[in-house]
């Protein structure tokens, strides 16, 4: 085994034993790249030196989590997905008196505000609650601020319109210098909090769970367990939306879901024809 691979295993053990963060079931190739990136960011030279700091320096673990999290996101990324949520999912959710939505792995909140805008435009926001969770506290803080680089606004505005937006995206933010700040009214029914999908349990009865591009970092066993967690959290007939390139064909727990729109990775809990398992 090469030395670097040994060091990575030791890193994973150190994070687990010292800080209770379990990365042992993350997909190895991208975990390795992120650890290598941490070595560059903190200029530690080797992973072993990084491990020493993980073990001995109080407060260092926060920046390690930030480095392993890479909260890259966009508003209305994959506009067809948000259009489908608007056209196929929200009309069903409209039949519930109170709508609970869990956004798992919310990064810096781009998709949280996207969802809030959809709900607002559908006239459903006042009876909705969005639980927006991530295991990266810095990302959660940024999410709750709702401040983003102005250079992203043009792309997001196009995404918004492609997703079927009915007004102008700029109605939802104020621009200042190089930044945009999302209207804080969009946050009025959002609760941001730290939740780790590896170790934490179900906390609500959800009607919709949005968890896009998070499970791609998990190996098959952890993906399967997390899908089980989602199934347990969803009401019967509740919706699950994953990233558009995710593959749940190897997960036994995916048998608890039926396709709503397979190409867009929108599923429903329970239902009749359970998904077949590929092996």
């Amino acid at each position: 085994m090469d030395v670097e691979d040994i060091e990575i295993q030791l890193f994973v053990r150190a994070m687990q034993l010292r800080h209770g963060h379990d990365f042992s079931e993350y997909a190895p190739a991208s975990l390795k790249r992120r650890v290598q990136q941490l070595v560059r960011t903190h200029d530690t030279g080797t992973i072993s030196e990084l491990n020493r700091r993980v073990l001995h320096e109080d407060g260092f673990v926060g920046s390690v989590i930030e480095g392993l999290s890479v909260p890259v996101s966009e508003m209305f990324r994959d506009p067809q997905v948000f259009r489908a949520l608007r056209e196929k999912v929200l009309p069903v959710l409209a039949s519930y008196p109170q709508i609970n939505i869990w956004q798992a792995g919310c990064a810096q909140g781009q998709e949280v505000y996207s969802l809030a805008i959809l709900l607002e435009e559908a006239g459903l926001y006042d009876r909705s609650r969005i639980y927006a969770t991530d295991f990266n506290d810095a990302a959660l803080a940024a999410a709750s601020d709702g401040i983003y680089a102005a250079r992203d606004a043009r792309d997001w505005s196009r995404n918004y319109l492609d997703a079927g937006g009915t007004v102008s995206f700029s109605d939802y933010y104020s621009a200042r210098y190089d930044f945009i700040k999302l209207d804080k009214r969009l946050r009025r029914n959002v609760t941001f909090f730290n939740h780790n999908l590896v170790t934490d349990v179900v906390f609500c009865e959800a009607h919709l769970i949005l968890c896009r591009n998070v499970l791609i970092y998990f190996n098959n066993a952890l993906q399967d367990r997390t899908l089980g967690l989602f199934r347990d959290s969803l009401v019967r007939g509740g919706f699950l939306c994953l990233g558009t390139r995710e593959n749940i064909d190897f997960s036994p727990a995916a048998g608890g879901f039926t396709d709503v729109d397979n190409a867009l990775r929108i599923y429903q809990a329970g239902g009749t024809g359970a998904r077949p398992l590929t092996r």
């Binding site: 997909a27 991208s30 790249r33 890259v72 791609i216 098959n220 390139r245």
Partner: protein, 188 residues
């Protein structure tokens, strides 16, 4: 038995035309997987897959998350994601930041493929207008794999192959039309 288990290919500007010349000339009995990372401007890779499929000697598919990497098939990286090869030879995806201004990045594909296949990998760097792939090619060579670079004078855009030669060097530097026959000799 040939000495190589997989072929990875990287290209950007001019890449579609180059792949349309190279893939049809591969031997249809090749057993190795061919994994392609081509920067395209478009939102969806399905058009690229469709165009390549029309002329390719081997079946062409979009690379699928978690799927075992099937041989005798051309796998194309989806747009907007890095495509990674896991050591137990299935694909994974990430939306981590761009590498060399690109996602998918050729460096990410080549580096993870080099980790997985070590000296049993062939990497091909074709035409392109940026230097993504150069570091990846160096990783392939460090692991003992075989690096092929398209002759810059023959490439529609020479920046990528030149960067590859500067940073990594090559085991073979060939005009486009000589690359598929070379791959056939190496991998059959």
């Amino acid at each position: 038995m040939s000495g190589y288990d997989a072929i990875v290919v990287g290209c950007s500007a001019g890449g579609l035309a180059a792949l349309q010349r190279m893939l049809p000339a591969l031997d249809a009995t090749l057993r190795t997987p061919v994994i392609v990372c081509c920067h395209t401007g478009s939102a969806d890779v399905s058009l690229l897959v469709e165009l390549l499929r029309r002329t390719s000697a081997l079946p062409v598919v979009e690379a699928r998350e978690r799927a075992p990497i099937a041989g005798a098939t051309v796998h194309v990286a989806p747009t907007g994601y890095h495509l990674l090869v896991e050591d137990d030879l299935h694909f994974s995806l990430s939306v981590d930041g761009k590498v060399a201004y690109s996602r998918p990045s050729i460096d990410v594909l080549f580096e993870t493929a080099a980790d997985a296949w070590r000296e049993r990998l062939v990497a091909v760097l074709l035409t392109g207008a940026n230097s993504d792939g150069a570091n990846g090619l160096a990783a392939v060579r460090r692991a003992g794999g075989h690096a092929i670079v398209q002759d810059p004078d023959d490439a529609e855009s020479d920046v990528m192959p030149r960067a590859g030669l500067d940073v990594a060097g090559a085991d073979a530097c060939l005009p486009l039309d000589a690359i598929a026959p070379h791959l056939n000799r190496l991998c059959l």
